[in-house]
Symmetry: C2
Subunit: 159 residues, 2 copies
């Protein structure tokens, strides 16, 4: 493991950033590995929103032997632990409904079930409260993540 892991962030920032990352890993119960340092650093220095594959390409410049699976695995872990933010753009692994009324969704983090919800308060805000920088917003989706009633009681009993 001889690559200079930190230089992605630039040499001044690298040492504090590495220490900060190590601390955040410890906080959420993840080991501080070179691969994770590089993945996180590459994402931090990305201005776009790269996909796992694109990020893998960037990371490989520093760690040529890193596996694509490692990138997928850790991005997903980072999202789960709240270290990074993920957006699903395409329809993959999607779930569908034909409910014709305007509604939003609640997704259970534990069992992945989906529930329809209605919220006049959110609908009232509308599109223009989210527009910025010339982006024309046509539709807004609000999604809540948490625990469905069934999983909530289950978690309580486990603890």
């Amino acid at each position: 493991m001889s690559e200079n892991v930190d230089s992605i962030l630039g040499d001044q920032a690298s040492v504090p950033a590495a220490a900060e990352f190590a601390r955040r890993c410890r906080d959420v119960g993840l080991a501080d590995t070179p691969q994770r340092r590089v993945i996180f650093a590459a994402l931090t220095s990305s201005k776009d929103h790269p996909s796992a594959e694109v990020l893998h390409g960037r990371v490989k410049e520093r760690l040529p032997r890193i596996s694509l699976a490692t990138v997928y695995r850790n991005l997903s872990l980072f999202v789960e632990k709240g270290l990074v933010d993920g957006v699903a753009t395409a329809s993959s692994h999607a779930r569908f409904d034909a409910n014709p009324h305007k509604h939003h969704h609640l997704i259970c983090k534990s069992c992945a079930s989906v529930t329809d919800v209605y919220s006049a308060a959110y609908d009232a805000l509308g599109v223009d409260r989210l527009e910025s920088g010339g982006f024309e917003v046509q539709e807004i989706k609000v999604t809540g993540y948490g625990l469905c009633p069934r999983c909530k009681t289950k978690e309580t009993n486990d603890a």
Copy 2:
């Protein structure tokens, strides 16, 4: 094509529903095919939010020869045309950022680019305006879909 396409919805409802579906297809420029009728009917009669694969299983009871690709293709078309609603539950085809500030996303329907946005108005509403039926909401994501500045000017020129 001898299967009884409409009976999924029950015999009383079937005839009006079929005509209604044909009309909606015409409105959005899609041909009215047996496969689409069955897919849509199966989704309409589903109380859960089935995935493409699950729905394919249900549809196959009526059209045993229907291809999984057809189900994926048409669900995606239905979402695009607004006939049904889709939710991305897993991380597939996801895009990532390490922006540590609370933010939401704008997704361009044309080029799929992702932009960060901040909205005090939406953040102010908070979690409880979306809770219902005992679901414990821990986090809310607001996503806007539309046209980014670059694609907006492009569309204008095309038309």
